[in-house]
Structures are given as C-alpha cells and as structure tokens.
Amino acid sequence: MTQKRLSKVLVYYNEEYFMPIRFSYDGIKIFIKTITSNWIESAGRERIYHFSVLTNLGAYNLEFHEALKKWYCHPSESA
C-alpha cells in the first residue's frame, strides 16, 4: 500500500478556483497533464480538496488540507 506523502505543489490560483500544475513525489518534479476529477471532502469547518491527476508517470491523487495548508500526494492504486 503506497503511503501518502507531503508534497510541494505548484498551483494556479485565482479568486474563483485553484488547480495544481506541478508537484513533487520522491524528489521528482512531475508535471500534470490532466486533472481527471476533483472533489471536496468536508469535515466540520475543515475542507480537503482532492484532485485525481494524470501525468507522464501515471495517475496520482493530490490532497490539499485547508486547515494545515499542506499538500499530500500518493499514486493511484489498484490491487
């Protein structure tokens, strides 16, 4: 099972929305080709923004935890 890891993410941001453009995983900078889906998880006041993205290295999931102001990343998996 792959671990969720802290990630540095380059983000496009305007007043209406934001979207990741590039992120790092295992020290590798990975460019996002497409955002295939996104959804918001609400737990009380806290919000977690989820992005499923497609890159040259495969599919990844990115999460932005609003309260922590941190990004997490893990490859999409199936068994």
Partner: protein, 253 residues
C-alpha cells in the same frame, strides 16, 4: 397551463466504478470492482460493466468475484467522494426540474410537470446526460413514463447510457417485452410461481389480470394485483416531489 404528467427515473450506470474509472484513465475499459481493500471478506460495492460481463455483481464477496473474473482489479471504496459527486449531480438535476426526489446515492425521480411539452423535458435530459459526461465522466440511464415504477423499469431496460421514453397509451406495448423479474417488488418466490404458471412477460400477466383476476388474486394476493395494476396507471401525484431530498444514508457504503 398544466404541465406534462410524466415522471423520469435517473439511474447512474455502475456509479462508484464509473467515478473511479473517470478519475484514473488507466482503469478505463478494464474490469474493476470497488471494494474495501485489505479485508479478507470484502464485498463488491460496485462493478464496472467490463466486470459485469463476467458475472460480477454488487454485493458479491470479492474472492468469489475474482473466481469469475481473474483479471478483476480492486479499487478502494471512497464513500465521501461518491457522496460529494452524488450531491453535485443532484444539484445539476435540479436544472432539469426543481421537483426531484432523491431515491438513493445514485438514483432520483424527476417530476416533469414543470414542462408544458414533453419534447422540452426530453431536450433537457439530453443536455443533462451530456453535462454529466463532461463534468464527471460518467453516464446515466433515463426512463420517462407516466408513473415512477414504470420509469424505473424503463431506465433499467437499456442500461448503460440508455434513454427510454414510454408515451402515454404505449405502456402495455412496452410491458409486453418486460420479464416479470424486472419489476421492482416482484421477488424470487413470486417469480418462480409466475414462471410455473407460464407467464413469461408482464404483458401476459396484465392480459390474465383482465381475463381472470380471480386466478391471480388466489395465487398472489391483493398487493400483487395492486402492483400489476399500478404499472399502467398514472398513480403519480407529485406531492412527494416537494424539494430536493437527501440521499438515504443507508445507501452509502
């Protein structure tokens, strides 16, 4: 001016599996099962159409599903994600008509009394199906008839991505093709009894009901007759469609 007296049933096709396939294009076209990974006796919550071809069904233990489809891929269930997508879809559906009734996380009924012409309503549904594909990458099947039970049968009739409209007066012609097992409310035991009495379609049961209702009454009782009768009548009155309801939490894994 009064609106059209039709009700639509919308049912998402392999909802959870389709969401996962849309999120990860590597899963597209492959047999997948949405399940709790890591649990020995995980249950298949949703199977993609590619997996369904092998006989994999929702509610089946995962180990049994793998026996049927050795290439089956397990994808971890993410209930919060499905709840979010469902809420967004139901919001989108209120664009078709403000009078909707959410039946579960992946199905809803829509009262089309909001429209004065059926064609307008159908155009809105074509747009809804297009928007659904564009926004979420998934498809839904739609059934439009004069009553909710028939609409549900119609939406199941040409899954996936179906669109079946049964105009008033054509209910019987449509039901002539429907096996009794496809009617919600007809269970396993009733089905066995119907088959043993020689009824192969709902149309045949309806004909028998008109010729000899006593025979059906003695065999199946009053509630069955009520169900059969309701299929061709406009039993829908729209009172339960007062607003957008929340999905039933028990329908969410």
């Amino acid at each position: 001016m009064t609106g059209v007296e039709y009700v639509a049933h919308i049912d998402m096709d392999a909802f959870f599996a389709s969401i996962e396939q849309a999120a990860n294009p590597c899963l597209k076209g492959r047999p997948i099962a949405v399940t709790g990974i890591g649990k020995r006796h995980s249950i298949v919550t949703s199977a993609s159409y590619e997996a369904k071809k092998f006989g994999v069904r929702s509610g089946m233990p995962f180990f049994q599903a793998v026996k049927l489809c050795p290439d089956l891929m397990a994808v971890k269930v993410q209930s919060r994600k499905y709840e979010y997508v469902s809420r967004e879809i139901m919001k989108m559906l209120t664009g078709v008509s403000p009078r909707i009734m959410v039946a579960s996380i992946d199905e809803a009924y829509v009262d089309l009394g909001f429209y004065t012409r059926l064609e307008e309503a159908l155009r809105s549904f074509i747009k809804f199906k297009h928007d659904l594909k564009e926004s979420f990458g998934i498809t839904a099947s739609v059934g439009v008839t004069v009553n909710p039970v028939l609409s549900k049968i119609a939406s199941d009739y040409s899954k996936p991505n179906g669109f079946v409209v049964v105009k008033r007066g054509l209910e019987r012609a449509f039901l002539k093709q429907i096996p009794p097992g496809d009617v919600p409310g007809i269970g396993k035991h009733t089905l066995i009894k119907l088959e043993s009495m020689g009824y192969k379609t709902v149309g045949e049961v309806l004909e028998e009901f008109e010729r000899n209702p006593i025979r059906l009454y003695t065999a199946f009782g009053n509630s069955f007759l009520g169900l059969i009768q309701s299929l061709t009548k406009k039993v829908f009155h729209g009172r339960s469609f007062s607003g957008r309801n929340r999905p039933n939490p028990s329908a969410i894994p």
